[in-house]
């Protein structure tokens, strides 16, 4: 049972102080966390080393400007960090980081992972909104009550994996009514416990999985059902995908922000997928017309085959889509069914190899039999 | 490949230790785990030093070497040779200049030492990312293509053609000789006729190693030093448009000049009166030995007008003064009682014996009148009145005949040819030499040379001298059996990143880049590329890298230096 410490402070400032003390006592050399860029509500995910800069840190601010897993990967791409670093990630970001580590795109060593029971984040287009602050406080209210905030992104609303796996320290946020007075830190790993004495509070014996949490989980599972149904139009399969992706501009923003899409140059941006002018005539002959730029659907399907099995449903893709395609909903829907097939849970276990890299004899035997 | 990096610090006698604490440098460098060995030596460029370095490389099995010593200008090649002899790839070597750039610059020993350290570390980090470039060798052809059959072209052909060297001489018109051929066979400094041009033409025709293409034009030239291919198109009526492809090792451009169109400035009154003639027309009169007015009478007075077009064109054509003197002499010798007046701006007689030629003319009674410009030239009665300005007051003189010396201007197809062979032109529209001072007949295109008035106004002897100069350059670079070694540090293009926008083509000074329409990408011709890097800078998608100066190498070097 994990060591738990109750801190008698508002959760935001409590975590802030905790990290601050880690930084000042030089137990760690830097913190990865959200930071306010200006007074207009813009936040960015930053590595902070100076206590002075840290004043602008807002670790639990409900926005996801970048999937932190992607950020940590670019930080440790060439190897582990020598100096100890702390990083605040949401559960899905953590899962993404784990998936990237499996693919040699990052290294967790010397990184103190701090996560939380996540109430979701607000849609990015609310960032810089004039009544941003009120929206945020409304958000916290719903977190306390373990309710699904309507302002959070669709993906968050149906996310049932809101408890972190592999976190050294977990902040218990969801369902704590007195969140602005007190909160509990769980130190799940020996690495985490090293830092427990920095947390100025009384150690308690608590479990992170409470009744509230479980109810919350149920609510989200229900929503998931609902959203997945919605995307299921009467005509199934390709036809429905064609309609869903019809507005796609081919900006490929989704793959750009996707933590699992780690390729330097996406194959679908490469020359192999430039449309060969020579085939124009024949294509028109056959179809009578051609949607240009062509190949948008192919891109989404291709990307899907490449990463769906590792999709952690972080929702970044939906967030950046300029034409409101529910990319994340589609991908996590396909993802979760695919992951079931491989009975693989992305981001659970660093040691567990990614399905493409393993061969199990009995895999898909059904297909063989048919 | 595992990197064994050796660092060698040269003391250069007292030069470097005076200002740099070499032992400290060696000590600190030894602590780096990137390097295998660090040693110092009193004078690495000495024979004993080179021997030491060679043995070190072999003993330590070094793959990369950094030498901290003097300016690369002094000894980069020296040490690269040593590396090569020691069986190392010479491009895995980096020379760090701690003498000129540290020891000789910074009085304070502390500072100098730390700067030297930074530099050497930068050098180490650079060399780590060096690629083992390979030297290449290419077979060459020794034949030469000469464009232009004027005196320059002929002279070049004559001095180039030999038992194992053919010359292809291409002339646009139907006969050799060019401008010089049109001149009277009398040249300055001697009254008597000589057959300069005719003789040369004969020699050229009789030389079995010179193929002459008259009424022909060069339509295409591609390639590089030692390996040019050219397309020659014939315009002779019987074989209209027939093309021939020839191969050559070098190209000589001798396309000569044209004359300033006197009609451009009405002040000269050219064309308005038959007794106002151009210098070229007067040369004809000399040829036909008939100096007379249109009415058949001999002129009693002649005005020789210099510098027509000088102000308009913005340069002095250098030769006009002299041939005007020649005219004066000729007139005085052949029409004893003729009055000769020379109207000049500045006498430009830059050759040692010209002055005396001028003095003789004076003795013969030729009158020299300074002027700033010609105001008007018009008929008055049966005479011609020339009105000219001389320091702000205008003056007149009236004569029977006026001879006007027009400026020399680029021959009309110069720009076209420049386009074709991608050669630069200067402000005046003549071909531009590679270096105005030290390389007066070479061009940016290695293996392409220019001679004579294609480069700007000059007289016959100078043109011929330059023709010999071009043959000097060619004969010393294209030797039968020898190979050319193209530059190794060239640019290369990542095909999968190139979008074929051809921006690089427009910035390449040497015409080394071409476009491949099938692949839709730009392609570097490594034999022509000199590795200047312009294209690298111009490519928006970073598809071009310059070998040995890659972004990575430079970045790592700078990063270290700034650390």
């Amino acid at each position: 049972m994990a060591k738990a410490v109750k801190i008698k402070k508002n959760v935001e400032e409590g975590l802030f102080d905790f990290l601050k003390s880690l930084l000042e006592t030089e137990k760690i050399k830097g913190v990865f966390t959200l930071k306010k860029m200006d007074d207009n509500g813009a936040v960015s995910y930053s590595l902070i080393t100076s206590p002075d800069e840290f004043k602008k840190a807002v670790p639990l601010y409900p926005f996801m400007p970048v999937n932190a897993g992607k950020a940590l990967s670019s930080f440790t791409l060439l190897g582990k960090t020598e100096e100890p670093i702390a990083a605040v990630l949401r559960p899905c970001e953590l899962r993404a980081f784990v998936e990237l580590i499996k693919r040699a795109q990052g290294d967790v060593e010397n990184i103190l992972i701090i996560s939380l029971s996540c109430g979701g984040v607000l849609s990015l287009n609310l960032m810089g909104d004039k009544d941003q602050e009120s929206t945020v406080s409304k958000y916290w209210e719903s977190v306390k009550k373990a309710e699904i905030s309507p302002d959070t992104r669709e993906t968050c609303q149906f996310c049932e994996n809101f408890l972190p796996i592999n976190a050294d320290i977990t902040v218990a946020a969801v369902g704590n009514k007195d969140l602005d007075k007190e909160f509990t830190l769980f130190f799940n790993t020996p690495k985490g416990e090293e830092f427990s004495k920095e947390a100025s509070g009384s150690s308690v014996s608590e479990e992170i999985e409470t009744k509230e949490i479980n109810d919350f989980k149920k609510k989200r599972e229900e929503l998931k059902e609902k959203f997945f149904k919605e995307t299921q139009s009467e005509d199934t399969g390709l036809k429905s995908l064609v309609n869903i992706f019809a507005p796609c501009l081919g900006c490929h923003g989704c793959s750009h922000v996707c933590p699992i899409c780690y390729c330097t140059l996406c194959e679908f941006d490469s020359k192999t997928h430039n449309y060969p002018t020579s085939s124009l005539g024949s294509d028109l002959m056959v179809k009578g017309g051609l949607k240009v730029p062509s190949g948008n659907l192919l891109f989404h399907l291709g990307r899907m085959t490449h990463m769906a099995v590792s999709c952690v449903s972080c929702g970044m893709c939906s967030d950046v889509c300029p034409v409101n395609i529910p990319v994340a909903t589609i991908f996590s829907k396909v993802g979760s069914s695919l992951q079931k097939e491989f009975d693989y849970f992305p981001g659970k276990d660093i040691e567990e190899p990614a399905p493409q890299g393993t061969y199990k004899e009995d895999e898909f035997t059904k297909i063989g039999e048919q | 490949m595992n990197k064994n990096i050796g660092v060698y610090v040269c003391e250069c006698g007292p030069n470097i230790p005076e200002r740099i604490d070499i032992d400290k440098v060696v000590k600190e460098l030894s602590s780096l785990n990137e390097v295998k060995t660090v040693k110092k030596h009193s004078l690495l460029c000495s024979n004993d030093g080179k021997k030491f370095l060679k043995e070190e490389i072999e003993k330590e099995e070094l793959s990369h070497v950094v030498v901290a010593a003097c300016s690369p200008k002094d000894h980069e090649n020296t040490f690269m040779k040593v590396c090569e002899e020691a069986g190392m790839n010479p491009y895995l070597f980096q020379l760090v200049n701690i003498r000129e750039q540290c020891a000789w610059m910074i009085p304070d020993k502390e500072e100098a030492t730390s700067k030297a350290l930074k530099y050497i570390k930068a050098g180490i980090h650079r060399v780590m990312y060096h690629d083992p470039l390979e030297k290449k060798e290419l077979e060459i052809k020794v034949d030469v293509l000469v464009i232009g059959g004027g005196i320059s072209g002929i002279e070049a052909s004559l001095s180039l053609a030999g038992p194992n060297r053919k010359v292809h001489l291409v002339e646009k018109t139907d006969s050799l000789g060019g401008m010089a051929g049109k001149l009277s066979q009398i040249l300055p400094h001697q009254g008597s006729k000589i057959k300069l041009v005719k003789e040369k033409i004969e020699q050229a025709k009789n030389n079995e190693n010179i193929n002459i293409y008259t009424s022909s034009e060069v339509k295409e030239v591609r390639g590089f030093l030692g390996n040019f291919e050219a397309v020659i198109q014939s315009n002779q009526e019987n074989e209209e448009g027939k093309v021939e492809e020839i191969k050559a090792g070098a190209v000589v451009v001798a396309t000569g000049f044209d004359l300033y169109d006197l009609k451009e400035n009405p002040a000269y009154g050219y064309g308005e009166n038959e007794n106002i003639v151009s210098a070229l027309e007067f040369e004809d009169m000399i040829n036909s030995e008939k100096i007379e007015l249109k009415n058949g009478k001999k002129p009693k007075s002649v005005a020789l007008v210099h510098c027509a077009g000088r102000k308009e064109k913005g340069y002095c054509s250098k030769v006009c003064c002299l041939y005007n003197l020649k005219f004066a002499h000729y007139l005085k010798d052949n029409l004893p009682d003729v009055e000769v007046k020379e109207l000049y701006m500045d006498l430009c007689l830059p050759h040692k014996q010209d002055q005396s030629y001028f003095d003789q003319a004076k003795e013969k009674g030729v009158e020299f009148i300074r002027m700033d410009e010609i105001v008007k030239t018009k008929k008055s009665g049966d005479k011609i009145e020339v009105e000219y300005k001389n320091n702000d007051k205008t003056d007149k003189l009236s004569v029977d005949m006026v001879v006007i010396a027009p400026a020399m201007i680029p021959s009309k197809d110069t720009s076209e040819l420049a386009e074709l062979m991608n050669l630069p032109l200067d402000k005046s529209g003549f071909f531009k030499e590679l270096h105005e001072m030290l390389d007066p007949v070479a061009t940016p295109m290695e293996g392409v040379y220019i001679t004579g008035c294609a480069l700007g106004p000059r007289n016959i002897p100078e043109s011929m001298t330059q023709s010999h100069a071009t043959s000097g350059k060619i004969l010393s670079s294209l030797i039968p059996g020898r190979k050319v070694k193209p530059e190794v540090k060239v640019s290369e293009i990542k095909e999968d990143l190139c979008t074929g926008c051809q921006t690089c083509l427009s910035v390449c000074f040497y015409g080394a880049i071409s476009y491949d329409p099938f692949k839709g990408v730009s392609v570097v011709n490594e034999a022509i590329c000199r590795g200047c890097g312009s294209c690298v800078g111009s490519c928006p998608s970073g598809a071009i890298r310059s070998k040995h100066f890659t972004y990575y190498q430079l970045y790592q070097e700078v990063m270290e230096a700034l650390r």
Binding site: M37, A42, S44, Y45, S46, L47, I48, T49, S50, E53, F54, V66, A71, S74, F75, T76, L77, L78, K80, T81, E83, I85, N125, G128, N243, A246, P247, L249, G250, C251, V257, T264, L265, N274, T277, L280, L284, K287, G288, L290, K291, V292, P293, S294, V320, P322 | L497, T499, G500, Q502, T503, S506, V507, Y515, G520, S538, P540, S541, Y552, Y555
Partner: protein, 395 residues
């Protein structure tokens, strides 16, 4: 390259005015139906509404039935037309005669891409159309019905509405310019329910001829209305430029606008001018060890991830801004609604003036950066010689 002063100069050209009882869209489409039927060209590139969705897209159509979904004046600009045209014409030689009906800003982009060898215009007829502007993409996707309706109203009245895309509100080049960009222009601002065809090149003339139209109607009506609108919009644009130059006087002012950026690079991917196969700033030319990042962080106190957010925008700007046609595609594509289109348009405006260059105005104008003029910026490099040059010119 000095045409940018002359842009609004009236040209004495004549054109063909067609009645449009069934409405302008119908009439315009009819012209192309005829042209396609008479094989004047093989295919038409035109915006279209994707069946059973509210989405718009580009379609290269050959089959007449597809005209039902075609729409010359869609409420939104999905993909920038220049980009669409380039997407299928840059990899090899076209062997079909193609007509492309595009907004003026898209035509300009096409011309820039043509100069950059990203479009093969050999068999392409560029047809521009008076553009009432378009609605912000996200707004439309949020409520297609409502926004679609209001666009209809706005476009009919040619009003400079606040609900248009900012780029369109500030666009003074929404009609035919005195250049060689498009072959044929379709004037709409003229008399209501009339379509005015203005040939702008020999190809344009042939096209009209083949269609059996005699271009001998006066363009006065259209001209004067257009002039009026151009004036209004120019005023609007100048105001906008002034405001934003003020806003971004200090570099902070400039960078603060980009604070929200999340490095999705949508702006670049939507930009017609960003034609690189892979953007230099995606190439990860350099990666560092964590220590290096920590070192960098210690120098500044904090380091923003993903890296080089500002560098990307500045770099992209330096690469493409001389050709920026102010189409606003970047701003439309930005998920965090950064006014990136306005920023670039503003910087572009100033830079292009420096080079006395109007992107997409003339096909012949060389790209400033590929065209070396010795005395260019001499006041910066060699002031002394520069003076001499000036005096020489004076003479």
């Amino acid at each position: 390259m000095n045409n940018n002063q002359k842009e609004t100069k009236t040209n004495p050209k004549k054109g063909k005015i067609l009645p449009a009882e069934k409405g302008i869209r119908e009439e315009v489409l009819n012209i192309f139906k005829k042209a396609l039927a008479d094989n004047i060209f093989d295919a038409l590139l035109i915006p279209a509404k994707v069946p059973n969705t509210d989405a718009y897209s580009w379609i290269l159509l050959q089959d007449e039935s597809l005209f039902d979904i075609a729409d010359p004046l869609p409420p939104v600009m999905t993909v920038q037309g220049g980009r669409a045209l380039s997407s299928f014409s840059k990899n090899g030689e076209l062997d079909l005669k193609i007509a492309a009906l595009m907004k003026p800003c898209e035509i300009r982009a096409a011309v820039e891409l043509f100069k950059l060898h990203q479009i093969d215009l050999n068999l392409v007829t560029l047809i521009s159309i008076d553009c009432p502007g378009a609605m912000p993409l996200t707004d439309y996707m949020n409520d297609p019905k409502k926004i679609g309706e209001s666009f209809k109203k706005i476009s009919e009245k040619w009003e400079i509405s606040e609900s248009l895309r900012p780029a369109c509100q500030n666009c003074h080049r929404f009609s035919l310019m005195d250049g060689t960009a498009s072959d044929l222009h379709i004037g709409l601002v003229g008399e209501n329910n009339k379509v005015t065809l203005i040939p702008n090149s020999s190809i344009g003339n042939d096209l009209l001829e083949k269609l059996g139209f005699e271009p001998n109607d006066s363009l006065k009506e259209w001209e004067s209305k257009k002039e009026k609108l151009v004036k209004e919009k120019t005023k609007k644009r100048d105001a906008f430029l002034k405001e934003w130059q003020e806003k971004t006087k200090k570099t902070d002012g400039f960078f603060n606008e980009l604070n929200k950026c999340i490095n999705c690079h949508n702006c670049m991917n939507a930009c017609p001018i960003c034609y690189c196969q892979q953007c230099y700033f995606d190439s990860q030319t350099i990666n560092f060890k964590p220590e290096t990042y920590i070192q960098k962080t210690k120098e500044k106190g904090a380091l923003r991830f993903p890296l080089n957010t500002m560098l990307f925008h500045i770099g992209r700007m330096s690469h493409m801004v001389l050709s920026c046609v102010s189409c606003g595609a970047c701003e439309d594509a930005c998920p965090v609604s950064i006014p990136v289109g306005r920023l670039f348009s503003m910087v572009g405006d100033q830079t292009q003036k420096e080079f006395n260059y109007v992107p997409g105005l003339n096909r012949e104008d060389p790209l400033p950066l590929q065209d070396f003029k010795e005395d260019e910026f001499c006041e910066v490099e060699t002031p002394n010689e520069c003076e001499e040059k000036v005096t020489e010119e004076a003479k």
